[in-house]
């Protein structure tokens, strides 16, 4: 009977996430506010249903009442979050809010199945981060000074990176985090954001050649320190973000081409210089040659995805724990194994949907500064998603970055909340402006 309920909910969850994802893209085709709101309501309902079904299945397999309480707490959190956000900010993007909740919800379902303790920890961090970052749109609306202090962003970012590089804790051959009062804190997650602010403020000031040279130097410093810390995933994110922001600010194809040339050269050099880069590339090219060694993580990930197939094994029916660091970098494989390839595919599309909305917001912003911020954050987000998922499914070599809002990790959660908060702030800014103009016109 438990099996039957599991199987049934599994198919229902897949149906619901498919509907959710469909609406995510239907939204863009709609023009009037009324139908847009209706679509978002359907999405919210789908999310709650998924949460309830997953909660029931989780309870049936663990027979723990704490699990029920945990899912109840999640439902409460999502409700409060959505209600307060829309109460404070009448013009907030509901689609973005929904996607935030949907990704968080997926993360909670998977984490509570992998490690209940970690899921609760994650939940606590999410609660704090969600309500703290609610203030961001307010700040964005009031503080124009944000565009005037490039070297504050650049200085703090570089300082943090240097600290990690010098005295960071090493994990999987890379220096990623520093410990503060028992919390492992991963500065590069936040420096990504300050970096985008830095570049945007610099280019907002001027895009003459001298300024570009200075900015490029500072950007290169960021990337180099990350390379020295052997955090190549982040280095790649910084590099691509800078290059594309430069392109958008100047509109120069020459810069884009030259940058890509340099990037390719740097990749070749990194390959011949660092053994851990070679190991990852080899593990990507033929993981089957060394299943028990270098290829272990990626082959376990592929076993998980392959065995799960399109419809998944069902929650608690697979063996996601066989994959090393499954709750962080490889959570996508666990989702695909137990919730199904279709669900995983929907996650890819939801992330892509978020990115497209970021870009849409970027094009609507009048000021170059805001445009660059929205664009830069969009690129940071999408590159990170691409690196994680691509690495997990062996589309590209694995680089060891997390899936925003889904993976376990406090720094990742907080920085993603800030990122979404800033975008949300820009969206609200724009909507408020438009409303004022409409009122004037009337």
């Amino acid at each position: 009977m438990v099996n039957l309920i599991t199987t049934l909910s599994q198919y229902l969850i897949i149906l619901l996430i498919a509907i959710y994802t469909c609406y995510n893209f239907r939204f863009f085709a709609m023009t009037d506010e009324y139908s847009r709101r209706r679509v978002c309501r359907f999405q919210t309902v789908s999310m709650y249903l998924i949460l309830i079904l997953a909660g029931v299945v989780s309870y049936l397999w663990t027979e723990s009442q704490t699990m029920l309480v945990f899912f109840g707490a999640q439902a409460l959190f999502f409700t409060l979050y959505l209600v307060f956000y829309t109460l404070f900010y009448r013009n907030a993007s509901r689609l973005l809010l929904n996607n935030t909740c949907m990704l968080l919800c997926t993360g909670f379902i998977m984490l509570s199945r992998l490690s209940f303790e970690r899921a609760v920890r994650q939940f606590a961090i999410v609660c704090v981060a969600a309500f703290l970052t609610m203030i961001i749109p307010y700040i964005i609306d009031r503080t124009w000074q944000l565009s005037k202090i490039p070297w504050v962003y650049g200085g703090i970012g570089l300082l943090l990176l240097v600290i990690v590089c010098v005295m960071g804790n090493s994990s999987f051959g890379a220096q990623l985090s520093i410990s503060i009062g028992g919390f492992a804190f991963q500065p590069s997650e936040f420096v990504k954001l300050s970096f985008v602010f830095f570049v945007a403020t610099m280019f907002y000031r001027s895009v003459d050649f001298k300024n570009i040279v200075i900015t490029t130097g500072a950007a290169a410093a960021h990337v180099l320190i990350l390379v020295l810390s052997k955090d190549l995933g982040s280095a790649l994110i910084f590099f691509i973000t800078y290059l594309l922001m430069l392109f958008i600010a100047t509109g120069s194809w020459l810069y884009l081409g030259a940058g890509m040339g340099c990037g390719t050269a740097a990749a070749v050099i990194a390959y011949s210089l660092f053994s851990h880069v070679r190991v990852r590339v080899e593990a990507w090219m033929d993981p089957w040659a060394d299943i028990a060694g270098k290829g272990y993580q990626i082959t376990q990930s592929l076993f998980a995805i392959g065995t799960g197939g399109w419809f998944g094994m069902g929650l608690y029916q697979g063996m996601p724990s066989k994959i090393p660091v499954v709750e962080k970098d490889f959570i996508f494989a666990a989702i695909s194994e137990e919730m199904g390839g279709i669900y995983a595919l929907c996650i890819i599309l939801i992330c892509l949907g978020c990115f497209m909305q970021f870009m849409l917001i970027a094009t609507r912003m009048q000021a170059l500064f805001y445009r660059l911020i929205a664009f830069g954050f969009g690129i940071v987000y999408v590159v990170q998603v691409f690196l994680t998922i691509g690495g997990v499914i062996k589309f590209i070599p694995s680089t060891g970055v997390t899936l925003p809002f889904v993976s376990y990790g406090g720094s990742s959660i907080l920085s993603t909340f800030i990122l979404f908060g800033v975008i949300q702030g820009l969206y609200i800014l724009k909507r408020n402006e438009e409303e004022e103009e409409n009122e004037k016109a009337q």
Partner: protein, 481 residues
């Protein structure tokens, strides 16, 4: 004016943002397609790996399916005992232990391992699944129908009798494995019981080794197939003028090469030397051919390289190169020396010759059915690649036909079908009987079955291995009529 240029630059940067958005969305869609392709087409080949612990868990909800021969006789089945436990049963005890393999506490081998995923997948219809679920019963797993021919397998095993060794038969134009015997074998039903005994260091029989794919032997005179081809290719105009006067021994410097039992073959042209397997003539050829070119020919025939084999196997080795001294050249050209080959690899060489130079990928699973008998997955023949040009395979086919007509393959004379092949008597230790080899196929002009026979310490290839091959061919062709 300033306003204008600002709007222009905004429009331009928006155009660029849109371009990049489309580009990135394109990359994401590519990734999504790759992901779907992996799940739909790649995953089945991947997840059968023994490193994938997930499959074992399937048996909690599925009754492992049966493995059947090509005529649908059960070779392995799961019996559900009255107390609810399950026993894997092998009706033919010893016969299929190296092909079908076994599944027990000590792991899985053979098809039990290769087809593990199919056996533990259930394609019974949805309604039945729901009913089973409600009743708390397991679903029936899919059945695997093999290419193995029960009659040929029996015949091969009987013909090999008490010899240690291996017999493998295959369809050269499809790659379907018809029989695979390795002896000594053991009772698949008693693997767990006798495990300690089987792996004990005092056990010299090595029953767990599948001699067909894992046993490495000197190829003996079967290797003359490669030697004669190399000679022909180096002397395309003059090979027909080759003559050699055989006195039973061949002297080169301090070295002496003897024909089998010191037999003097007299005056031999190349065809006769090959058919009679004259060691003296081939030793001389060995000194004439270029060792480096010979090395690359051997590698073209898959020595020192992976084989298209899904069972555990050993790679064959050919080490001679330009640095070889005369003794190594003499030995290597007659299939002695350091060269090592498995019976399976020798089968592939004969199969490629039979199939005009193209090697088909060998396979043992014909199709997979659900418990109701509906086909779920069908395997179709595919080419592995070309081992030699068609003209080379024709040359070798003609040579191998002569072996049966005028040479050491006399065991097949009087058969109702024609045969092409090569015998071999491989020395491996002074004072012991030679290993007896035969590789070949029938009918010679329209090959339908190719075989590789190795009997350890059994004597000459013509007297032991060839008659075993004949027994299998006889059974195959009488079964067809």
């Amino acid at each position: 004016m300033k306003k204008r240029s600002e709007t222009d630059s905004r429009a331009r940067s928006n155009r660029n943002i849109l371009r990049l958005t489309y580009g990135i969305a394109g990359i994401f869609l590519l990734m999504a397609v790759y992901f779907g392709w992996f799940i739909q087409f790649r995953s089945e080949n991947v997840i059968g790996s023994s490193y994938n612990a997930r499959l074992d868990q399937f048996s909690d909800r599925i009754v492992r399916g049966s493995i059947l021969s090509s005529d649908r006789t059960v070779l392995a089945e799961t019996i559900r005992n009255s107390d609810g436990t399950e026993t894997r049963h092998y009706p033919y005890d010893y016969l299929f232990v190296h092909s079908v393999g076994y599944s027990g506490k000590n792991g899985k081998t053979g098809l039990e391992s290769l087809a593990n995923f199919y056996l533990l997948s259930s394609h019974v219809n949805l309604l039945e699944k729901v009913v089973n679920e409600l009743r708390g019963e397991k679903n029936l797993g899919d059945n695997v129908i093999t290419t193995l021919n029960l009659n040929l397998q029996k015949t091969a095993s009987d013909a090999l009798a008490s010899y240690r060794g291996a017999v493998i038969a295959m369809e050269p134009d499809t790659g379907k494995i018809l029989a695979m015997v390795s002896q000594p074998n053991f009772n698949a039903n008693l693997v767990d019981e006798k495990w300690e005994e089987l792996i004990s260091p005092d056990n010299t029989k090595a029953q767990l080794v599948n001699r067909a794919t894992q046993g490495l032997y000197p190829p003996g005179s079967t290797f003359k197939i490669l030697t004669v081809l190399e000679y022909m290719k180096e002397n395309p105009q003059t090979w027909q003028d080759f003559t050699f006067d055989c006195t039973g021994t061949y002297q080169s410097g301090d070295y002496t090469i003897r024909c089998y039992h010191g037999e003097a073959h007299g005056s031999q042209n190349l065809i006769q030397a090959f058919a009679n397997s004259c060691n003296g003539a081939f030793a001389r050829i060995g000194l004439e051919i270029d060792p480096d070119r010979f090395h690359s020919l051997a590698e073209q025939f898959l020595f020192n390289s992976p084989l298209p084999c899904s069972l555990p196997y050993n790679q064959s080795s050919f080490t001679m190169d330009g640095t070889a001294d005369d003794w190594e050249k003499l030995q290597t050209s007659i299939g002695q020396g350091k060269t090592q080959i498995t019976p399976f690899h020798n089968l592939l060489i004969a199969a490629a010759i039979a199939n005009g130079g193209t090697l088909m990928k060998p396979y043992m699973i014909d199709h997979v059915e659900n418990a109701g008998g509906q086909t779920v997955k069908k395997f179709i023949p595919s080419a592995y690649g070309s081992l030699m040009q068609a003209s080379d395979s024709q040359f070798l086919a003609e040579m191998m036909k002569q072996v049966v007509e005028i040479g050491t393959g006399s065991a097949f004379r009087g058969a109702s079908y024609t045969v092409a092949g090569k015998t071999g008597s491989a020395e491996f230790e002074t004072g012991k009987e030679t290993h007896s080899w035969f590789i070949g196929y029938a009918p010679a002009d329209d090959p339908q079955i190719v075989i590789s026979v190795l009997a350890e310490e059994a004597g000459s290839g013509g007297q032991v291995a060839a008659p075993i091959a004949r027994a299998v061919f006889d059974a195959y062709f009488s079964g067809q009529n």
